[in-house]
């Protein structure tokens, strides 16, 4: 009975892991990079230097918006945090006006409210959005797909734990290079050591979009979604403009009041509705870096008098838990030390998914009737593995390279940066299909290594902020970025060398079955 359960859990682990593994790999890779999305954005906008003060930035943004969109329905000012230097503003066109493109109702500003002139890029924000919105497909579908993948991941983790209980008991047996089982080792070590992280990140990931995936808990108590949102976040009454102009209250004192109410934590964003009208409102929200809980506190003020208006509902245990879970997932609260721990754990998770995918083929190859001519399913998995494990990271490297190499005046430049990611990915897939897999592996991994290694070089050649210069200037953000690229390049180069050696040794090496390989 017990053995039967283990077998069926092993089966479940194998197939849930495989079916959406490629998508999970891309999600893990981009999600991991998103812990440094502000830093990536700064690297991708090398023209911007220095830091910005949120209060001064807010005043600058209000001046800009008063000039640019005085009669907008609302202004949204996303202030710089301790890791970024620019202010992002969006506005909603006045009633009756045509809704323009995103670029027509948004701007990136510096501290004094001037529009920054930097290369057109979506920076780290694109990688962050890809993590759950994907690209080229409707966002709604993408989020359902991502949710299914996350649920598969959760089931794969749990069934993996049940199957491999023994590995946990033999915790200290974990290591690499035990004989020919390097893929199995990589999978086990990365999975077991960071297991709390994997469980946390998968479960909280589902929670971030919980209301979309499981709306029935709310539907049971509320006839419609807005009733729930009003109860939790306070009624969002859209007051129409009265038509009586009135000067907007100064935002700086309101921000200081709000900050003081939150023990000095920074303000994250300011939203102003009906600016310039007697019905104006100012909403101020705490910066997400201020606490673990992601649903930050918010205070509303009357936009003329500056007197505080109503608050949202005080959070009970469940809402607080939800807020903390989402906060834990996004890690916006983490200062640099913990942020690196998040990043390294995410990197481990990416390796776990990748090695798990490769393991599927490694284990099956020995059992093929004719290892030289595998059946279609096997070949498909193998090709997709090459395309994903080597090709997707290569695509990310290409995204960074495109940021430096595409002409600055190019139309739709930001889109072309993104296209270069997917074109590289596609190219590796095509390469994997046309080449024999044993050759395509080292070649694709080598390409990824070369592209990552090229990033610091191209950066040094095209900007004045290359590795030597940033080292001298003590510009640790640029130094770290370039160093991470070099470490990734070294990792892929090592992988490429191993894959090449394995090919030279021939299939004999993989043929030595081990009890562990049989069991899983």
């Amino acid at each position: 009975m017990k053995e039967g359960l283990r077998q069926s859990m092993a089966l479940l682990h194998t197939w849930t892991g495989l079916l959406l593994g490629w998508l999970l790999f891309a999600m893990f890779a981009t999600g991991t990079s998103a812990y440094f999305q502000d830093e990536i954005t700064r690297w991708m906008q090398p023209e911007i230097t220095g830091s910005a003060d949120p209060v001064t930035s807010a005043e600058g943004a209000v001046r800009f918006l008063q000039r640019t969109a005085p009669d907008a329905t609302s202004w949204y000012i996303s202030l710089p945090n301790s890791r970024s230097a620019t202010t992002q503003v969006y506005w909603q066109a006045a009633e009756g006006q045509k809704r323009g493109k995103r670029a027509d109702t948004s701007a990136v500003l510096d501290q004094s409210g001037r529009e920054v002139s930097t290369r057109d890029t979506r920076g780290g924000y694109f990688l962050y959005r890809f993590h759950f919105d994907l690209h080229y497909i409707p966002v709604l579908w993408a989020r359902y797909l991502v949710g299914v993948a996350a649920m598969f991941m959760l089931v794969a983790i749990l069934s993996g734990i049940i199957t491999h209980k023994k590995i946990f008991a033999d915790f200290f047996m974990l290591r690499f290079n035990k004989g020919q089982r390097s893929w199995l080792d990589a999978h086990n070590v990365t999975a077991v050591i960071a297991l709390p992280f994997h469980l946390m990140i998968t479960f909280t990931g589902l929670v971030t979009l919980a209301i979309m995936y499981m709306p029935w808990g709310i539907a049971a108590n509320y006839a419609d979604r807005t009733a729930f949102q009003d109860a939790v976040f306070g009624k969002s009454v859209d007051v129409a403009r009265s038509g009586n102009p009135a000067p907007l209250v100064a935002v700086a004192p309101l921000m200081r009041t709000a900050s003081a109410a939150w023990d000095g934590k920074r303000v994250g964003y300011v939203k102003i509705t009906n600016p310039g009208d007697s019905t104006a409102m100012v909403n101020i929200a705490r910066a997400s870096e201020g606490a673990i809980g992601s649903r930050g506190e918010e205070i509303s003020f009357n936009g003329i008098t500056g007197r505080p208006a109503d608050h949202s509902m005080a959070k009970g245990a469940a809402l607080a838990t939800e807020s903390v879970m989402i906060g834990l997932h996004a890690g916006r609260y983490a200062e640099y030390g913990l942020r690196w721990l998040y990043f390294l754990s995410g990197l481990g998770g990416t390796i776990m998914v990748g090695s798990g995918l490769v393991l599927w083929t490694v284990k099956r190859r020995t059992k093929l009737p004719d290892p030289n001519h595998p059946h279609f399913g096997f070949r498909l998995v193998e090709k997709l593995n090459i395309a994903t494990v080597a090709g997707f990271p290569a695509g990310i490297a290409a995204y960074f390279l495109a940021n430096r190499l595409l002409p600055l005046s190019m139309a739709e430049r930001a889109d072309h940066e993104i296209n270069s990611l997917f074109l590289t990915w596609l190219a590796v897939f095509v390469w994997a299909v046309v080449r024999p897999s044993a050759r395509a592996w080292p070649e694709a991994l080598g390409l990824a290594a070369a592209l990552f290694a090229a990033v610091p070089v191209v950066n040094a050649l095209t900007t004045s902020r290359g590795l030597p210069a940033s080292l001298l200037a003590g510009d640790w953000l640029f130094v770290s970025f370039d160093l991470v690229m070099l470490v990734l390049a070294a990792g892929f180069a090592k992988g490429a060398r191993r894959a090449a050696r394995k090919r030279a040794e021939g299939p004999r090496a993989v043929r030595r079955k081990t009890p562990e390989a049989m069991a899983a």
């Binding site: 200290f172 050591i193 992280f197 673990i292 030390g337 913990l338 721990l341 998040y342 754990s345 481990g348």
Partner: protein
Amino acid sequence: MIHLLAVLLSAGAFTALALSMKRHQRDFAGRALTERESRLARTGGWSLVGLVLAIDIAVFGFGYALVAWAGQLTMGAWLNVAWLCWKTGASRKN
């Protein structure tokens, strides 16, 4: 900096815990330990795990400390794995 210290302490904690188990003593210490040494290693290991948590709580406050602690223990475990790999690799070459 506090993270670095905590990661090193966690690594020490895991090494001590491994030392307290008979089957791993040869890997880590090169010989079998006496009953008393094993017990000492076990107590020392768990105390270090607790110490790291205590430091985190003192520095970061409770909630943040729990997250940081989990991350530091993970990295400490990684260091142990890395050290073992390096050691096995080195002994194989000899």
